[in-house]
């Protein structure tokens, strides 16, 4: 017997005496994150309907494979990967999704969410967890959570690429500039939320100023740190909205590319 049932502690048989709906938040988190994982996995392996000029799904950008549809390849990256290895066809999304996925998996906010909702460590505050042993993030594999800053840096590169995709969305299907469609708005929203999610990140806060011992010697970094700290208060909100935003952008592109809907142009 360990934890709250240890012999030295007050003898109470219940795992928790909380009377509120403590299970609701982790249950919602579990449902939403699992839905996203299932959808993202489906889209990763679907390997079609990811491009409708000028919109490319964020799940497939940058498209780096030899099988990428014409018009999806960025010249700066080219097509360094084959469309199959060892006779197995590889979706272009598989070459890139590890990076945004890694950024979210190692994010301090998402860690809280999935440790509670999926691993029940703990399921909620003052609710006894079911595990008999616990070593936290001190050994493999969870010690790899310390790689968050590297995913953060790579995530910034992805944000730049998705920003470029959003700029391209100001073209029409004939690649003429100066147009705007519903897809443009969807991309602007998705990319803006991704930037806010990245810039409000704890690692960003630390890198830009948090690691300093003397703010007074670095007034500009201090100012930047105060701005990022204010954004950091909203980091969980940005984490969720950006997740929905990127999924929404993919759903929209898929719907347009499959012919289910037409991308309406305002001008």
């Amino acid at each position: 017997m360990s934890g709250v049932f240890s012999p030295t502690r007050a003898e109470i048989k219940e795992r928790t005496l909380r009377t509120d709906k403590w299970w609701l938040q982790p249950a919602i988190t579990f449902g939403v994150l699992l839905s996203f994982v299932i959808y993202a996995t489906f889209r990763t392996f679907e390997n079609k309907n990811y491009f409708a000029e000028p919109l490319i799904s964020p799940f497939y950008s940058p498209c780096l494979s030899a099988s990428c549809e014409p018009g999806t390849v960025l010249a700066i990256f080219g097509q360094p990967f084959n469309n199959q290895y060892f006779g197995i066809g590889i979706s272009p999304a598989l070459f890139i999704l590890i990076f945004p996925l890694g950024f979210r998996m190692t994010c301090y906010y998402y860690r809280k969410s999935y440790y509670r909702a999926f691993w029940m460590s703990p399921p909620a505050c003052a609710v006894a967890e079911p595990h008999t042993k616990y070593t936290g993030e001190t050994r493999a594999p969870l010690i790899l959570q310390n790689s968050h800053r590297w995913f953060f840096y790579i995530g910034l590169v992805f944000n730049v690429i998705l920003t470029w995709d959003t700029i391209l969305a100001f073209r029409n299907a004939e690649k003429e500039w100066g147009h705007m469609s519903v897809g443009t708005l969807v991309f602007i929203f998705s990319t803006t939320m991704l930037w806010l999610y990245s810039l409000s990140c704890h690692t960003c806060r630390h890198t830009l100023g948090g690691r300093l011992k003397h703010f007074s010697k670095h007034p500009i970094r201090y100012k930047v740190w105060t701005v990022v700290s204010a954004l950091n208060h909203k980091h969980p909100t940005f984490a969720w909205i950006s997740l929905f935003g990127v999924a929404g952008a993919d759903i929209y592109v898929r719907a347009v590319a499959s012919g289910a809907i037409t991308n309406f142009y305002f001008f």
């Binding site: 502690r9 007050a10 909380r18 009377t19 790689s147």
Partner: protein
């Protein structure tokens, strides 16, 4: 206006114990500690309860109310429904002494393990000068009243007694952060010892400490995560390690 309140109070010691039902009068504006005192005065003369200031500043009356770690002097009776039974138990992370009183000496042992502030050599007392902007970040941590609710709710020790040897807990992570961010503190190995001796890496940032803090200190966002990032600087960031080797960055200490 007075009302009848149904309470379930844990009574016992390290050998035996259980929840006992009691009905007590509660007046408008009273807090849970008030009605516990009334129970003590009228029905359970030997009920053990630790308290002091009744103003949310001494951190003595920490207990668990309806399963949540709270200060009994800060919880209004009016916040519960008319027919609701309020369950009051001792802190469940620490050894029981009697009734609502636990042995929190674990925390004092951990406090002694944290290296104290190290003043710069040659800087005479009274000559130290600090910019407000450099100290205000850690002033948030000075609000701590040592109620140990964060220590109680932290699942690392609450659910795993064996971790008490190697885990200092959130209250002492804010102490370490306060000193590591102190503009004059000269001790260089706080990050390393935080990770290797005080168990910072065991925290999986589920933020319960922040949720229960009666002083609303943002323990996780402003102390634990910044300390984890500082540990990454010295242990898991090869670029910063390289920078320290060529003299462009603070050394790995």
């Amino acid at each position: 206006m007075a009302r009848k309140l149904n309470l379930r109070i844990w009574r016992g010691d390290s050998t035996d114990g259980g929840l006992q039902n009691v009905q007590v009068e509660a007046n408008e504006g009273e807090v849970v500690l008030d009605v516990i005192h009334r129970v003590q005065a009228t029905q359970m003369g030997d009920l053990a309860v630790r308290w002091n200031c009744k103003a949310g500043k001494c951190g003595s009356c920490s207990m668990e109310i309806n399963g949540k770690p709270r200060l009994a002097c800060m919880i209004q009776v009016a916040s519960f429904g008319d027919n609701e039974t309020i369950t009051v138990t001792p802190l469940r992370a620490f050894p029981i002494i009697k009734d609502l009183v636990t042995d929190v000496s674990f925390n004092y042992k951990k406090a002694m393990e944290i290296p104290a502030y190290a003043h710069p050599d040659g800087l005479a007392p009274g000559d130290a000068r600090m910019e407000q902007v450099d100290v205000e970040r850690s002033q948030e941590f000075r609000k701590c009243i040592e109620c140990f609710l964060c220590q109680d709710v932290c699942h690392v020790v609450r659910d795993h007694e064996e971790n008490k040897k190697s885990f200092a807990g959130p209250r002492f992570f804010i102490r370490i952060a306060e000193l590591d961010m102190h503009p004059l503190d000269m001790l260089k190995n706080r990050k390393k010892t935080a990770q290797e001796e005080h168990g910072l890496g065991m925290c999986n940032i589920t933020k319960c400490c922040t949720e229960v803090c009666p002083e609303h200190i943002r323990i996780t966002d402003n102390a634990i995560i910044p300390m984890k990032e500082r540990v990454v600087d010295i242990k898991y960031d090869p670029l910063r390690w390289l920078g320290s080797k060529i003299g462009k960055r603070e050394g790995i200490v």
